[in-house]
Amino acid sequence: MKRESLVWMAIMLIGATALVGRAAFTSKGMGRQYVHAVSGPDGQIRQYEPATQAEYQRAVVANPNQTEYQLSMPRTIGLWVAAFFTLAIFSFLYRDNPFYRIAEAMLVGVSAAYWMVVGFWDVLVPNLLGKIWPALVQSWAMPGLSGPEAARNLWYIAPLLLGIMLLWRLSPKGAWIARWPLAFVIGTTAGLRMIGFLHGDFLAQIRSSIVPLVVITTSAFDPWQSLRNLIVVSAVLCSLVYFFFSFEHTGVVGKAARVGMWVLMITFGASFGYTVMGRIALLAIRIEFLLDDWLWLIDPIHRRAVAIGFRIALGF
């Protein structure tokens, strides 16, 4: 075995032993999830909602035989699986490895299945089948489907036919049939987006850029607003000049283009800064998850602090 593999195996074994030891044999514990049973008016348990360890401890102290708050094994296993996959994805930073590939394949598979199921139940059933066969959908899948929204609308046969034609692509013969609905989708999307961009971006942005360079308020000249407007207008014009390639970028045009380039650079810098901030926030929440939810090393929102306080007060 290579030295590097040996070192990694030793680190993983030590880590796993420490985790099992902390989880099973220390008073602090780690990585457990609790639930709270919610009962209906008839006293029957309707559902289980997440609960904190503090709530569980409080309930146990009040009544050691209580069953309202319980350790949830499915949620606990889910938490450990989430921690494993988080570490598996992080492991790619060191090198590509089987754990990373398992996590990646799992993510892709689960996402695809989830999208399919959600698309079927949230869109196809209520918005297509529910419009064409409302009574059938009501008796089979959506008992709550009623009222004017549940009225039969046979116009929806057209999207149903287009959908079937789109799926024809999978057939060995007549794949060309799928091109018709595809053309419809592309045409509709292009038209919709063109209007959206023309109206919401192109025209609206031109209107927003036409601002007074000398701002006079009710009382007097406003130098800061005037300067701000001047910067906005100059930045827009200079950035446009930078993309104006019909003239050589020399003289006044060259200087304006150079200012435009600086404006663009500042924009890219701001974008990069914001992107960095976003990525660090994403890393932070995963580390917070590992330290708080899984390892119980920190407790920023006091989910266990009360329990610890109880334990200290009661001497266990």
Binding site: E49, P50, L93, Y94, Y114, W115, V118, G119, D122, V123, P126, N127, G130, M142, P143, G144, L145, S146, G147, P148, E149, A150, L192, R193, G196, F197, H199, G200, D201, A204, Q205, R207, S208, T267, A270, S271, G273, Y274, T275, V276, M277, G278, I280, A281, L282, L283, A284, I285, R286, I287, E288, L291, D292, L297, I298, D299, P300, I301, H302
Partner: protein, 321 residues
Amino acid sequence: MRDFITQQWWLLVVIVASLAPLVARFVSKGVLSTLRTLDRRWIFLLMAWAVLVPIYYIGVTGQTFPEVPSALARATFDEIEKLREGDPILLSFDYDPGTEGELSPMATAFVKHAAEKNLKMYFMALWPIAPQMIDNATDKVIKADYPNLVYGWDYVNLGYKSGYEAVIKVIVTNLRELYTTDSRGTALQDIPMMQGIENIQQMKLIIEVSSGYPGTKEWVQYGVTPFPDRIRLVAGTTGVQATTLYPYIPGQLAGLLGAIKGAAEYEKLVIDKYGGPHPDPKYLDALRRMGPQLVAHLLIILLIAVANILFFLDKRQEARR
């Protein structure tokens, strides 16, 4: 800080031990030579410590960094603040677990603010996983701290609809064309707060928490722009798309919270007004996450500076040759 170091000495030992091989290399091969050939994995490790240590410190001590709200955060806050009790607002949560770190603090703060103002909240989603984000926010805020707010009377989750911008385009004029039931399968006619709601032009404000496409840009293009006098929009977005949305302010977008920084500023405004003397720490998520931001940004600035110095040193050496 001294107490923290004394009590958590083991963390210092782990950090020093993990970086010992790098220090040894600095000593044996020289600083410049090591930096020129620095393995990117050392940078990953440094970044991990730069994020982990502040999270651990803040998690143990409970301290947060001071935050000064910017004009944009204040504008967002004021838009909600000026609404009256019972006004209907639409909250479109268009994000998934991938950007939860940045956006869930905003979502939580928006829901708390709306609950404090006793506004009628209509939740919807254009992302398939976003209904769970809605449930998270309502469980965390409404169910836990505002048990007086009743589902169907004070807030409703309309759930997810596919169709991207087409959904916005339709519900702007006819909400019931797409939404026949809420996310629980209850018919809209059986939901008291849906009585008389035909389209989203009836909303006093739209609050959009957006992670990408479809998101704030589509709400501006297909919601606000065609009806500028009837629809007002504020948004909380990821840092990646924040700069693309600035041009819409203030004409098409009344307020914008950009990334975790915007969330922290807005969180402060909400907590200062409605948090009481001892605010619940679950409403301080963004303020807590500004700690790792500070240290990680300092590290990145340092790395950029070092890389530039090395670049210019190498260039000068080449010129001398």
